[in-house]
């Protein structure tokens, strides 16, 4: 598995825990997680920590996912970090737009181990 250090950005602690659990249930262990409650906290963490993957929600207070993604993509040292959006806002138009902006995958909530496994299999080349 090429993703060893993962930043999870979601305002719900429950959602962050579900994401971690689904990754483990999908068979991916011994990963290092960093957690942020919003995009602003996420950016702060990324200033000091190198991560291989960012999993982010869209609806978050202070700085939502769309702004967070735009800021990442306009940053020279962060623009190449793969981003996965996990959101309850499941919408084809939004998904297409996010992918145009460089998002690797959009996964609808509720997240399941099967959805995580499929994503990891598809991207783990």
């Amino acid at each position: 598995m090429k993703y060893k250090r993962i930043l999870i950005t979601d305002d719900s602690a429950t959602s962050r825990m579900i994401i971690k659990r689904c990754i483990e249930m999908a068979g991916f262990f011994d990963l290092e997680y960093f957690e942020a409650e919003d995009g602003l906290q996420g950016l702060t963490i990324l200033d000091s920590e190198k991560v291989d993957l960012i999993i982010t929600d869209l609806k978050m207070p202070k700085m939502g996912g769309k702004t967070f993604i735009r800021k990442l993509k306009s940053s020279e040292d962060k623009k190449d970090i793969p981003i996965v959006v996990v959101s309850s806002l499941d919408n084809e138009i939004l998904e297409a737009r996010l992918k145009r902006e460089g998002v690797l995958a959009v996964i609808g909530k509720p997240l399941s181990p099967a959805k995580v496994f499929d994503f990891m299999e598809e991207t783990d080349d």
């Binding site: 719900s12 602690a13 429950t14 959602s15 825990m17 579900i18 609806k59 207070p61 959101s87 309850s88 806002l89 499941d90 919408n91 084809e92 138009i93 939004l94 609808g108 909530k109 509720p110 399941s112």
Partner: protein
């Protein structure tokens, strides 16, 4: 968008979200139960394309089951804020999935952040909302949904 469409979309959503997130089979109850009791009201606004809301009325035993299943921790060991966060996340997912079920995946919609409601009297047009009851392998809970055209 008829009342029947809305009800069907909500029943389908509740069944799938409860099954996927808390591994509980839910059953829609046609007739309002005589003695329905709840200990918490959760609320989320639907902002567009129609305005309205979804309200969940949850009894204590169901709240405990949901939270303990998701967190794999005893209810008594959890902080009130963790419990609220967990139940609000469920409502958030229900709202997103309900809108997708109702409008289709191509549709755009906007919903608010979910919140705990402490006073039912603050809720507007409650008499115009649909009351939908469910059994969650025993405990009964209610969803009120309103979408103004």
């Amino acid at each position: 968008m008829t009342e029947e469409n809305i009800k069907e979309a909500m029943i389908k959503t509740i069944e799938s979200v409860f099954s996927d997130m808390v591994f509980i089979d839910t059953l829609h109850i046609e007739k309002s139960p005589e003695n329905f009791d709840y200990t918490q009201i959760l609320y989320i606004d639907i902002i567009s394309p129609s305005n309205g809301y979804i309200i969940a009325y949850l009894p204590l035993d169901l709240r405990k089951t949901i939270v303990e299943t998701i967190h794999s921790t005893d209810w008594d060991e959890m902080h009130a804020s963790e419990i609220d966060d967990c139940l609000l996340e469920i409502l958030n997912v229900i709202a997103g999935n309900f809108m997708t079920e109702l409008l289709g995946r191509g549709a755009k919609y906007n919903i608010s952040f979910p919140a705990v409601n402490y006073d039912e009297e603050d809720i507007e047009q409650l008499d115009k909302s649909q009351e939908i009851y469910f059994s969650a392998e025993g405990p009964i809970f209610r969803i009120n949904v309103l979408l103004n055209s």
